[in-house]
Symmetry: none
Subunit: 414 residues, 2 copies
């Protein structure tokens, strides 16, 4: 089953409000086996709404709209859709009574404008909305369906779960749209594609997408509108193959956070962790402590932003700092050793680099970062030159540091 | 001037990735006086991309796309648009050279698949992308324009600002849609609304919106499609009035980051800063060091996640920790004093709290956070109980800590 989503609101086109409804509908419908083939946003203008809904109906015959159902003059959706179906708007007594009841309950007088919310296109099914004043509306005629939902996210969500998805399930066929993701890091998209190879035909009808971000490259496999058991079986086989080909670059699946993977590795080895950060300035500690329960493994960290702090609190000697500079293998190794010693732990991470925008030199351009990971008796250090702006370089450095420790622990026998 | 935006990526329709590019384009184009009349999202399928772009071109003659320009087989945009214009793809030697140069700079081999990124539709203008491997492409013929931008947000943003907006400005009309924002923190939305009062009619045709977030409540004023000079004049008057009414709760305008405000205060007072963090785990240091040039003021920090670290590295005595617990006024004051002493600086911040999801008690529920700020001889401490999940509580705590120091410095004569 396929449909289109039309989100309505000038604030969406202006980018003043993020369009969370579109993403939420996409997720919920995919989980129910329904493919959203297109999403459009238009402003609060009747002709724009009518055109977008009409075009979407012509393509798929099924449209869900959000927004434009409120009581004020910029709420146009109901009028536009009623006109499209050639239906007049009629006062619905049940809706009016429940509106009056709602205002009585809140102890407020009902404004005259709210009465317009009790008008529905002739023949429409009213979807009761206990969370707000605008009910959902389901208009259906000659295999064309338009479902209108309010734009307030909590109201949209409630109506979707309680009124729309059950009706869609009754029409559905046991088919699902389902995705799984294999997460990789430390390998470029193009190099990963070479390892994975041209598998598109082999995995069809599943599809594969490469999704690069500052965390690495995710491989997302999607099964489109096939029976659930078959989707699960094919997804499992494809994910297993991708994991094998991504090999050591793969650190998990779906929503897995690399910080959580490292904490898990250390927890099972009963080893505690400390960090020494320069250019990331605390982000690495922030990533680690974002994981609930991290206190079991994470002792703490030193943000050694100033070289005097590297000397005084991490015991990095001036004899290293002076000739090699703060961004060097010698210093990053001394930083991680200092963190292990100061915190009395068995695992450590250190980061020092040039996040920019200034501070780069021809030998050490902006983006140059030295990373070190220590586990037991082993320390490994790595230099990377990261692309991107200051925020990206710092985020990439934190992820790369975690990955260095993940690989080091993985290579070490438990 | 009107145009449409088409964002491309199956992950957008599935709701797996929020479509930040659409909102960002909407904001940037509105600021330049250009109206986005429709936004559509389609998946990574050539026929879907071609259809959406063709329909958008028929309506407005001008389309900006994002996404689908990468090196892998799911990147279809260039092919679809080239086909739509009836142009072959040709290898562009300049793009190839800059790609090779980029990989050389990063010290990595260039995969064969990256060569396809140097192919451009015949006659297209290449928009150089120093942040990534996919250049932007501007295809124009017989008053039909398609501008293709990469989907990675930072790359899209850079190309938009440096290549697209200047070209659009050359075509524009003198009318603008412009917004300004007054940033406040430490006051609830309803309390702020009472202070501001019912000014909607007075400021018309400008509009006012309250935008609450973990950073506080932003007041956004917008002027809609009016001449630039009038917009500037009216916005300046309204912003001045809002700043006056928000008074001490206002910390800046537009994109101002509170960390930047505090760094500026300290810089002009020649005072250096150190932090001691427990529940924020490094986020506060991360916020501060996100500001370029922060090293002038910020010495460093200690992430004292473990109570042993609070004792050993911040000299918080067991005689305080034991009776009062780690989340207490006594301990947060000892933490900030320890940070000042250990780093030898004149200003400090400390945070200790219960970010959850576990660890709450009836006396100290999840969300309880003690904050301390020290400047010169003054220390002020504050207890807050923040709503939200772990991530929100931590983000609110970092912001509230910075705000505590901002107010303390503001009250102290320079």
């Amino acid at each position: 089953m396929k449909l289109e989503v039309v989100t309505i609101g000038t604030e969406l086109l202006l980018g003043l409000t993020p369009d969370t409804n579109a993403a939420e509908l996409g997720r919920a419908l995919a989980a129910a086996g329904i493919e959203v083939v297109r999403h459009s946003s238009v402003g609060d203008r009747p002709e724009a709404i009518r055109a977008a809904v009409a075009e979407a109906l012509d393509r798929t015959g099924f449209v869900i709209t959000t927004g434009g159902l409120g009581p004020t003059s910029d709420d146009m959706t109901k009028h536009a859709v009623a006109e499209l179906f050639g239906k007049p708007l009629q006062l619905n007594e049940d809706v009016l009574r429940s509106l009056e009841e709602r205002f009585r309950h809140l102890g407020r007088p009902m404004a005259a404008t709210n009465r317009t919310q009790a008008e529905v296109p002739e023949g429409a099914t009213v979807l009761p909305n206990p969370r707000g004043t605008a009910p959902g509306l389901w208009v259906e005629e000659r295999e064309r369906v338009v479902v209108m939902l309010p734009g307030v996210p909590s109201e949209m969500r409630g109506l979707l779960a309680e009124e729309v998805l059950p009706r869609l399930a009754a029409r559905a066929s046991g088919m699902v749209v389902r995705s799984r993701t294999v997460r990789t890091t430390g390998i470029a998209e193009s190099a990963l594609a070479e390892r994975v190879g041209a598998i598109e035909d082999d995995i069809a009808p599943l599809t594969l997408a490469y999704l690069p971000s500052v965390d690495g490259v995710d491989l997302r496999v999607t099964a489109w509108t096939i029976p659930e058991a078959e989707a699960e079986r094919r997804l499992a086989a494809t994910v297993a193959m991708l994991r094998e080909r991504a090999a050591e670059h793969c650190y998990g699946e779906d929503g897995t956070d690399l910080a959580g993977v490292v904490l898990q590795q250390l927890s099972s080895r009963k080893t505690r962790l400390a960090v020494a950060e320069s250019c990331t300035g605390g982000l690495l500690g922030g990533r680690i402590t974002a994981i609930p329960g991290s206190s079991e493994v994470f002792a703490g960290g030193i943000v050694a932003y100033d070289d005097a702090v590297k000397r005084g609190m991490l015991d990095v000697s001036a004899a290293l700092l002076k000739p090699h500079g703060a961004v060097s293998e010698e210093v990053v190794r001394a930083m991680v050793a200092g963190a292990l010693r100061r915190f009395g732990v068995g695992a450590g991470l250190a980061v020092t680099g040039i996040a920019g925008p200034s501070g780069g030199t021809p030998e050490k351009p902006v983006g140059t970062v030295w990373l070190a990971a220590a586990f037991g008796q082993e320390t490994s250090a790595l230099k990377r030159i990261f692309p991107g702006d200051r925020a990206e370089i710092r985020a990439r450095a934190a992820q790369a540091a975690l990955d260095l420790l993940r690989r080091l622990i993985g290579e070490t026998n438990p």
